[in-house]
């Protein structure tokens, strides 16, 4: 009896050790990525990693997933002849999700940064974005510009464009920085008074402030920190990047994109992106 147990245990442990120790043997995924287009066509679907937020990917009153990125992705997939399958991911580990093949794309108001170019290929940008400063309404008269916040506690999502913007700004860099683990939690910290200001995407800020827990928050008008752009992220070397660029051009040509931007009140930022592209 005991020998049987011992044998079973041996087999189990061996399997575990094998899978556990093999880590780091080969982390290159680029060689595989060349066939992404063929792979998704064969599977009949593109798995798109998202987080749920307004106005990119969220739900209408009937519980249907809508949003600018949702409809944009559906339009592209229709042209590819595959189904757009949206999968909620943990934003902190999005690079691992993509590399592991759990998803085929990150398509969720993804900001183009130099660091991220090591982990993924970006399509042509389709929207511009800005970082803005959010504060409590009680401080509206005190914090009217960045140079009045040098002694404040400022928060932003760790490693986000917001943090980069804080460090790049002469005044904000002097403030006390405290990282948050997501943009939403940066706002929660602000609402709780754990921070005096938060630097987040203007997209997210517009959709959030004044509502629910963020009722008493406001955007400081007239301050635009770093300009940036949204694009779609695919695996490094993937042939999907070029294909989706081509389809997007067609969608711009046909006016579909402009209509979408209008529907979600993003026309200005869509036009800015077009200008930059030219």
């Amino acid at each position: 009896m005991k020998k049987l147990f011992a044998g079973l245990t041996l087999v189990m442990v061996a399997v575990m050790m094998f899978t556990g120790c093999a880590g780091g043997a080969n982390t290159a995924t680029g060689d595989e990525a060349g066939s992404d287009l063929a792979t998704i066509k064969a599977a009949g679907q593109m798995v798109i990693g998202i987080t749920e937020y307004d106005p990119m990917n969220y739900y209408d009153e009937d519980g249907t997933l809508i949003g600018f990125d949702t409809e944009y992705a559906q339009a592209v997939c229709e042209k590819l002849g595959v189904e757009a399958k949206f999968q909620v991911i943990n934003w902190k580990t999005k690079e691992a999700e993509l590399a592991a093949g759990n998803i085929d794309a990150i398509w969720n108001g993804l900001t183009v940064t130099e660091e991220r170019k090591n982990d993924m290929d970006f399509t042509d940008p389709y929207l511009t974005n800005k970082q803005c400063i959010v504060i409590n309404k009680d401080n509206a008269s005190a914090y009217t510009s960045a140079d009045k916040m040098t002694s404040a506690i400022i928060t932003a999502e760790s490693g986000s464009a917001g943090e980069t913007a804080i460090l790049a700004d002469e005044s904000l860099a002097k403030a006390t920085f405290t990282p948050a683990d997501s943009q939403k939690n940066a706002l929660v910290a602000l609402a709780a008074g754990n921070a005096d200001a938060a630097v987040i995407d203007i997209t997210l800020a517009t959709a959030s402030v004044g509502q629910g827990t963020y009722e008493n928050l406001m955007i400081v008008e007239g301050i635009d920190l770093a300009d940036e752009q949204y694009a779609i992220g695919f695996r490094v070397g993937s042939d999907l990047t070029a294909e989706v660029n081509k389809i997007t051009d067609e969608l711009i040509e046909s006016g579909t994109m402009a209509k979408l931007a209008e529907k979600y009140e993003l026309t200005d930022r869509f036009n800015e992106a077009l200008q930059i592209a030219e």
Partner: protein, 226 residues
């Protein structure tokens, strides 16, 4: 979102929490026994391997283990867990199974150590008393030792069990839709933080039930004192 809607939502998440909890407990309790036999056997290759395994699992964070199980097959072997045929393309099922596998491994290791301590705490005299009365080794184990071990490990096992209820929250790192995941969704979609604090009521309620059950068991075995 109204209170009622949020409650319904969180209940949906909590049902996943409870499933993860129940399956983990059912599978890891016996697996812990197998591991314990491995760590105490005289056959050294098995002993070294199982001890190393227990050491690795107990020495690393559960959150890290979740990520290893969830990402390594795709990153290293180019075969994403979510695409394994056994899951039939059911992504939530695959994510749940990844979490379950990790939790079972983790808790089996902790249980195996609890069992080991429980058995070692039985005085040698109990074995000898059985032996001099002509009992076989298995009679001694099942008739004399086992119930005393059960009594000895009840408190640490109940501790681990209550910890497990709370640890299930970690599964949201790999997008298992347990209760915290739903609370975060409320924040993301409806900009409200209070559902997050409200989840505490669910954990407290369930742990109150567990505490009640374990207290009764403990009282039932309280006549065993050496």
């Amino acid at each position: 979102m109204s209170f009622l809607e949020v409650t319904q939502w969180l209940l949906e998440g909590f049902s996943t929490t409870l499933l993860l909890f129940a399956f983990t407990l059912i599978l890891s309790l016996p697996l812990g026994l197998v591991l314990m036999f491995g760590t105490t056997t005289k056959f050294w290759p098995v002993k070294i391997l199982t001890r190393a395994f227990v050491y690795i699992i107990r020495g690393t964070p559960l959150m890290l283990q979740l990520m290893v199980v969830y990402y390594i097959p795709g990153i290293v072997f180019h075969y994403s867990v979510l695409k394994w045929p056994i899951f039939g393309g059911n992504v939530p099922l695959a994510q749940f199974c990844c979490a379950l596998f990790t939790f079972v491994m983790n808790y089996a290791c902790y249980f195996s150590e609890i069992y080991r301590g429980g058995i070692q705490s039985i005085p040698k005299g109990q074995y000898e008393a059985g032996q001099v009365l002509g009992m076989t080794k298995s009679q001694v184990f099942f008739k004399v030792i086992l119930l005393q071990v059960v009594k000895n490990i009840l408190a640490p096992v109940s501790n681990e069990t209550i910890t497990l209820v709370k640890d299930t929250a970690l599964a949201n790192i790999i997008a298992v839709t347990e209760i915290i995941f739903f609370a975060e969704r409320a924040l993301n979609l409806h900009n409200i933080i209070w559902p997050m604090f409200y989840t505490g009521v669910f954990y407290l309620g369930f742990n109150a039930l567990l505490t009640f059950i374990f207290n009764r068991l403990e009282r039932k075995l309280s006549y065993i004192r050496s």
